[in-house]
Symmetry: C2
Subunit: 367 residues, 2 copies
Amino acid sequence: MTSLSYEAAGVDYGVIDPLKIAAQEAAKSTAGNLTRHGFRELEESRGESAYVVDTGSLLIASITECLGTKILITDEVYRATGKSHYAAIAQDTLAMAINDLVTVGATPVSAHAYWAAGGNEWFADARRANDLVQGWKAACDYCGVAWGGGETPNLSGVVVDGRIDLAASCVGIVASRERLTLGKNLAIGDAIVLLGSSGIHSNGVSLARTLAASLPGGYATPIEDGRTFGEALLDPTVLYSTVTEAIFKAGILPKYSANVTGHGWRKLMRHAGDFSYDIHSIPPVPAVLKFICSAGKLDVREAYSTLNMGAGFAIFTAPEDAPRVVAIAESLGVTALEAGRVEAGPKRLRIKPLDIEFAGSELTVRA
Amino acid sequence: MTSLSYEAAGVDYGVIDPLKIAAQEAAKSTAGNLTRHGFRELEESRGESAYVVDTGSLLIASITECLGTKILITDEVYRATGKSHYAAIAQDTLAMAINDLVTVGATPVSAHAYWAAGGNEWFADARRANDLVQGWKAACDYCGVAWGGGETPNLSGVVVDGRIDLAASCVGIVASRERLTLGKNLAIGDAIVLLGSSGIHSNGVSLARTLAASLPGGYATPIEDGRTFGEALLDPTVLYSTVTEAIFKAGILPKYSANVTGHGWRKLMRHAGDFSYDIHSIPPVPAVLKFICSAGKLDVREAYSTLNMGAGFAIFTAPEDAPRVVAIAESLGVTALEAGRVEAGPKRLRIKPLDIEFAGSELTVRA
């Protein structure tokens, strides 16, 4: 087969972006509404991964995020093998919201579930429904989040029959102003610590699905760790809030954070400033991502520009704090690596061990 | 044609409820997680329409709500007439979250958009996309809400091709503890003020769609106000937060509130206690709801148990405050009516002018 590219796999950022930009501009124009309540927004949170409102006494962060199409893999593996991964997909969904929320320095506090089914029969399968509930609860408990409620509508005609659209919203508190990581503290010389991923997480899923469709064995194709491609894809996303909380409790204030999701490692250039990010060490690549790269004939540049390649979250920190950040993460069961350094611009990402480079223009996350 | 019932129109609460109950129980069990942050939940907000966390210095309310299937009507009218009602549907979506949020006494502060499309082409139609954006912004501005951000995923394979799944999350602040309306203040003798609806709002939509499918003229069928059935169905939901804010600013503390959505007027029995609700006056019925009742051959009991029948929101207040609540609402362009009184139990709703009665057991909103 020929090489798979992200656009060929159905994600065309070019078509979505004009709306996204119009929405961002309209959203920005509503900021003044907060003055009616005596509040203000932290303007620098616009364009970051969560929105922060300053009530005077408290900084409230909020976010709504969707799982994406990973549920289609969960459904297909369930259908083909009878094995339910609905607890895992609940964790994936919450991780999309929580891992974004913590990038601004917030402690996740409460979450709502959005589970929109294509018909009542989704909920009639008690086993998967119960797994979804228990997985959601377990992820909340792990992150110290109160599950506040949610919606379980039957959206027959909007959601595809037999499918479910999963999303999460999350509210957090930034415990102190000094804990805010909205960008202003990042500096040349800061260390880049990469926290390990468990696999594909929830990004690059279209690519994985296209690949599965092209394989004679589909999701049942064995990969090098002895499992099937489908099973391995369904390892749930790592929840990073335990690490960000523990770092703060240890007295470390990160300079910036980035959740490595869409755009793969290009997300390491997420900060608005003109810094250059030099990577000197790379984490091991999970077997499932290695398989996607080889079976999908992705070149290394394409792989790192799309997939997390073993790095699910980046913490930018003072160089003297980096070893402790790594140690704290590892003590919580999250692999971590001091991987690089923030240098003077121009904006670019250089992954030196692989001899690849991305220009700042290859990541557009702001209007 | 024979009479339409809600279950025949595709909403079967019996199938969804076991999952809902399991989710509510699991969610409840996560309350203790807040103690990790020094916070606590207001337990009495569970089962109410929004979740409230007490941080000590602030009461934070949050909610996630979905539009439902009203978008299918918007799409069909757009396809058939070329007239875009996507600004209106944005208001409907936000109203689902905001009108629920304010029932607990919260001031809505920020909102996130969740717009999940069945393919990139949804966003490629610049006109409807722009209407959606501008309608969302206008509703935020009207309610004094900051639009914090959102998600615009392409969920091809999960959301039906050509469709969009719309939802909103909202964060609010309860300005003072005395403003909380979680139920403990409601008392015998309190007045029931009903705020007017603009039409179907976003509930009873399955019924309306089933009816349209059975009519020779479909959505183009004229109704008594001279418009088509489709146009009239798309009048956007009234946003009630301007009224709830103005009431508070006037020094009035309502005893309880109920957003009249699914289950129609049975929602007037939403309070957990054993009160009897006696209605002595009913508001005018919007033309579109009159048409549904007559063309769908709904009997009056079925109509009031399913549709809002002209009452979109209920404010329970001390009898001496009721006239001012009515006047404040009317001054803001929201029709209002002192419609009834809270009496001693058993739990039931009596709509005296229509000689109909609902038992408390006919509404189940709590696990």
